[in-house]
């Protein structure tokens, strides 16, 4: 199990809230306002995945990216390899979360990260064989299925 099942509820809440926003600007404001929560979710995913898949304890996203990049994915089963691949894509788009400059407009990079890469990773995690029987994963899967 790459991540704790409890991760799915806050993820489902983020995507549920995004669905409820009617305009692009409202969605952008929401993502900027929730940057710390999204960062926590992403960070705990790499913290847990690196521990399980790489047997490493990276101290930040850059080290996690390094560890996942060095991982021989042929040694993993197909589902874990997909998690590693999708997580790497998230970490490659991590800049808006790592920036310590609160005055930069993170709207577009955040939208790209959350609507594209994190959503794909969330779907992969929710469909992982170790999670698929859990109601939390099912709840996230239902929310994600509502996105076009």
């Amino acid at each position: 199990m790459p991540v704790a099942k409890a991760i799915f509820l806050p993820l489902a809440r983020i995507y549920g809230d995004l669905l409820a926003k009617k305009t692009d600007s409202a969605r952008a404001r929401y993502l900027i306002n929730r940057r710390a929560e999204i960062k926590t979710i992403v960070d705990t995913i790499w913290e847990q995945c690196c521990s399980v898949l790489c047997q490493t304890n990276p101290r930040n996203a850059t080290e996690a990216q390094r560890d996942l990049g060095a991982l021989d994915r042929t040694t993993l089963n197909a589902e874990d390899a997909r998690v590693a691949e999708d997580l790497l894509a998230v970490l490659e788009s991590y800049d808006p979360l790592s920036s310590s400059d609160p005055y930069i407009d993170h709207g577009q990079p955040m939208a790209n990260l959350v609507n594209k890469h994190l959503r794909k990773l969330a779907a992969t995690l929710a469909a992982h064989p170790s999670q698929v029987a859990h109601s939390e994963a099912a709840a996230l899967g239902r929310v994600l299925a509502l996105f076009p």
């Binding site: 991540v3 991760i7 306002n33 710390a36 926590t40 913290e47 304890n57 101290r59 310590s100 005055y103």
Partner: protein
């Protein structure tokens, strides 16, 4: 060599500052003079100045460099809104390059905002999220502890500013806010900085406790939640519990 002696010896770094509203400002601990071996070099670049050049200046002093860049319209937006960060830059910053007269004029006419309730509310919301989702961390607590420290530090600075006290040293702000709230865990909360420095600044530090200690991590996250909640409450009431 200290950055200050270098500045006083030669105030020109060869930056191409073509406009009166282009500035390079040293902020943070190096500007205050309380930098230590853990300190970053924090630079504020305003206008069209080249932030690569700014980094090369900071790089001469060995510490990790943080650059905040404000294009001119962004700078003036924050100027008009009374940004606390600009108060920091004007009150403690040291102008490394740019027109000193213009900088002095801006400093003299700047007025910092006085109400930080919405900022304190956001810090409290984030810490509540961290403390009430303990199961999602799967037994690994670095991520929430790093974010918790950021919020404790930010909340402390906003709280003090809300009551007219401008303290930008992180350690001092957390301790002072804790003291004003009559809490006895200021040192414990301040020590969460080790997790932040370990992760964000890649510093090799002895951490206050193991990253797999659920009990102590939970205690820290709950302390951060109650601390920021007290700050939110005090800012909402605009009333300090211990100081009239």
């Amino acid at each position: 060599m200290s950055i200050h002696s270098d500045i006083s010896a030669d105030n020109s770094y060869g930056m191409k500052l073509g406009e009166a509203s282009d500035f390079l400002v040293l902020v943070g601990s190096h500007a205050r003079g309380d930098a230590d071996e853990r300190s970053d070099v924090d630079l504020l670049v305003i206008g069209e100045a080249d932030d690569t050049a700014a980094r090369s200046i900071g790089g001469r002093y060995g510490g990790p460099i943080n650059v905040v860049s404000f294009p001119t319209p962004v700078f003036f937006k924050h100027f008009r809104s009374g940004s606390l960060f600009l108060e920091h830059a004007f009150s403690e910053g040291r102008l490394l390059d740019g027109c000193a007269d213009t900088w002095e004029f801006l400093r003299g006419t700047f007025s910092v905002k006085s109400n930080y309730f919405s900022e304190s509310r956001k810090c409290a919301r984030i810490c509540r999220f961290l403390a009430t989702n303990m199961e999602m961390y799967g037994g690994h607590y670095l991520a929430p502890l790093v974010v918790a420290y950021s919020q404790v530090k930010n909340a402390s600075i906003f709280f003090l500013a809300h009551f007219g006290r401008f303290v930008f040293n992180k350690d001092a702000a957390v301790l002072e806010a804790s003291r004003l709230l009559a809490r006895d865990d200021g040192e414990f909360l301040g020590n969460l900085r080790h997790f932040y420095d370990f992760s964000v600044r890649c510093q090799d530090l002895k951490l206050p406790f193991s990253l797999e200690r659920r009990d102590l991590s939970m205690r820290a996250l709950e302390a951060a939640m109650s601390f920021t909640e007290e700050i939110r409450h005090a800012c909402r009431k605009s009333h300090l519990p211990t100081v009239s």
